[in-house]
């Protein structure tokens, strides 16, 4: 078979084409694929790096926003007391009255803390809540005449004290009511009921508790201890000691009194209650 020149060229071309196809599929395509893959990976990483950079660039602004938010929260947290120490709060009120010539506190009462819970819009209950106690006090004015009652003090002093209490911590210390009772003896009694609020937080407070707050720390000197449970004989005023009184321990019972109607049923029989004398 004689091949013409054209056929030879064609055969050579075919061979070259075959080689090119082989080169393309075995060498070139994998190499380009590898390059494209690497370039794609590079682009992805560049995008990721750019995103990371943008994210990292936001940290400062985000931190600033968070700090602002923390300050806002701290401001609100500090608007109410961090704890309710009834003795400290009452003592502070008494001091304010005393500073306004109303030294004679005649009655103090307080309630158990009442909770105010928060139900969020999604129906869940917040772990944070508010509690308040109501402290009521009765203080006496002075007539300005009676020894011990000089100088006179009355409504004007009372309202000054009210204003001090009202303004010292206006959100946490909220005066619920005030009233006055006339004695018709030249002086008056004044009443005040104050609701004192605290936050009960599920997380740590942002600001530490300010222990210098007069409503938080006990500032009076410690009293001597040694109180007694039960009133010993020596501490009973002689005028209150009754001669005729059933004393289970008495060797000789003093009798002759006329027992009250209820006493007869309650008083144990002396002969039963008295311990048997030792032989």
């Amino acid at each position: 078979m004689k091949l013409t020149k054209t056929e030879l060229i064609l055969a050579g071309g075919l061979l070259i084409a075959l080689l090119i196809v082989l080169y393309s599929s075995v060498i070139y395509r994998p190499a380009t694929d590898e390059l494209f893959k690497a370039q794609q990976e590079y682009r992805d990483l560049t995008v990721q790096q750019e995103e990371n950079k943008n994210i990292i660039d936001k940290v400062a602004a985000l931190t600033s926003t968070r700090d602002d938010l923390k300050n806002e929260i701290a401001t609100i947290e500090n608007s109410l007391l961090p704890e309710l120490d009834v003795e400290v709060i009452t003592s502070r009120f008494a001091d304010i009255f005393a500073a306004n010539n109303l030294e004679f506190v005649t009655k103090i009462t307080s309630t158990m803390p009442t909770s105010i819970m928060l139900q969020r819009a999604d129906g869940t209950t917040s772990g944070d809540s508010v509690e308040y106690i109501r402290i009521s006090m009765k203080v006496s004015g002075k007539d300005g005449v009676t020894e011990g009652g000089i100088p006179a003090s009355g409504y004007e002093d009372f309202i000054k004290a009210v204003k001090t209490i009202e303004t010292e911590n206006p959100e946490a210390i909220r005066i619920y009511s005030i009233s006055m009772e006339e004695t018709q003896q030249g002086f008056q009694y004044f009443f005040i009921s104050v609701d004192v609020y605290q936050f009960v937080l599920s997380s740590e407070r942002i600001d530490p508790i300010d222990t210098s707050d007069p409503y938080l720390s006990w500032y009076r000197e410690a009293v001597a201890t040694g109180g007694k449970i039960g009133i010993p004989y020596d501490n009973v005023p002689p005028s209150k000691l009754l001669e005729v009184f059933f004393r289970p321990f008495a060797t000789t019972q003093v009798s002759g009194g006329v027992p009250a109607a209820g006493d007869a049923a309650q008083a144990p029989d002396a002969t039963e209650a008295a311990p048997t004398p030792a032989a």
Binding site: K2, L3, K5, L8, G12, L15, I16, L19, I20, I27, Y28, A31, T32, E34, L35, A38, Q39, E41, Y42, L45, Q49, N52, I55, I56, V59, L62, T65, R66, L69, E72, I73, I76, E77, S79, L80, I116, L118, A121, D122, S126, G127, V130, I159, V162, K163, E166, E171, R174, I175, Y176, S177, I178, S179, M180, E182, Q184, D195, Y197, F199, L201
Partner: protein, 299 residues
């Protein structure tokens, strides 16, 4: 047969002659073919080498980027962002909680000593207040005076300074001294009338506004806004249509509830048109504005 042999031998010779004839043609083409082949090999090699060099260069860049991305500093910065972002979300919720609770406290009733100052400065000269109480927006005054119109003058004084919204006279009554042990001269000097009056301060109500994401958790976007307004006062809540959060996300209003009643399409359209919620205070008002992230997707 002989002819056939000759033909065959000729054919063999012709084969060689054909071959030799083709070979000469090949010989003429081979250099070109080799040249093309070599050129192709060279080009292919150069291209391959170029690709490999390119790939290596890109790989090198990838390694550098990977090193940067995975660097301790980068990861630390990213972690800082994540931590800050998460803490921000936590603080945001805490802000909503404490502000809501604080709003509840702020809206509880308390006395205002300025009211008592106004009462005190407007007492007529012959009035002696013997009992006084001020609680829950109600001031009760009991006392004595010289005439029946003194308490009325006192109430007129209160009216002049717009102190109270309503007043109830429980009694203004002449005092009966017939059974009094006081001597006549003391009776002459004593107040002749007693009065018992209750004065009511203007009712106030809280108007509380919350901005929330319209998702199942109703995630708060910010602290509640609380104001205490008097009965009949107008309230206005502005900038309703959009809300931009701390991280720059823009939210668009989706629905509004006022005291748990959803605004109708028409009411919502009016609110959107004016970018404003307004109303007259006549009761405690709780406004919840729900938003979706821009594009309508719920966050």
């Amino acid at each position: 047969m002989a002819n056939t042999k000759i033909e065959l031998s000729k054919k063999d010779m012709n084969f060689f002659s054909e071959f030799s004839g083709s070979s000469s043609q090949v010989n003429a083409i081979v250099p070109y073919a080799l040249l093309i082949l070599v050129a192709l090999v060279v080009v292919g090699g150069v291209v391959f080498g170029f690709l490999k060099i390119q790939t290596a260069a890109v790989r090198s860049q990838i390694d550098i980027l990977n090193a940067e991305i995975n660097s301790e500093e980068n990861q630390k910065d990213l972690k800082e962002y994540t931590d800050t972002y998460n803490s921000l979300a936590g603080y945001n919720l805490q802000y909503y909680d404490v502000s809501s609770l604080f709003s509840n406290v702020k809206n509880t009733d308390k006395i205002d000593s300025a009211v008592m100052d106004a009462v005190y400065t407007n007492l007529p000269v012959d009035v002696f207040v013997s009992d006084l109480s001020y609680e829950s927006g109600k001031v009760q005054l009991t006392g004595t005076c010289d005439s029946y119109f003194t308490p009325l003058s006192m109430l007129a004084n209160f009216r002049a300074v717009s102190l109270f919204s309503n007043i109830e006279i429980l009694s203004i009554e002449q005092i009966d001294f017939s059974a009094s042990p006081m001597p006549p001269e003391e009776i002459a000097a004593a107040s002749k009338f007693s009065f018992d009056i209750v004065c009511y301060l203007k009712d106030t109500y809280p108007v509380v506004t919350s901005r929330l994401i319209d998702d199942t958790a109703s995630t708060p976007l910010t602290a509640v806004d609380s104001q205490t307004l008097g009965l009949g006062e107008k309230y206005e809540i502005k900038n309703i249509n959009t809300y931009t959060s701390e991280n720059g996300t823009v939210y668009t209003v989706s629905r509004i509830l006022v005291n748990n009643i959803v605004l109708t399409e028409q009411q919502l359209a009016t609110v959107k048109q004016n970018d404003l919620i307004t109303g007259i205070t006549n009761a405690a008002t709780d406004i919840k504005i729900y938003y979706v992230a821009d594009g309508g997707a719920q966050s």
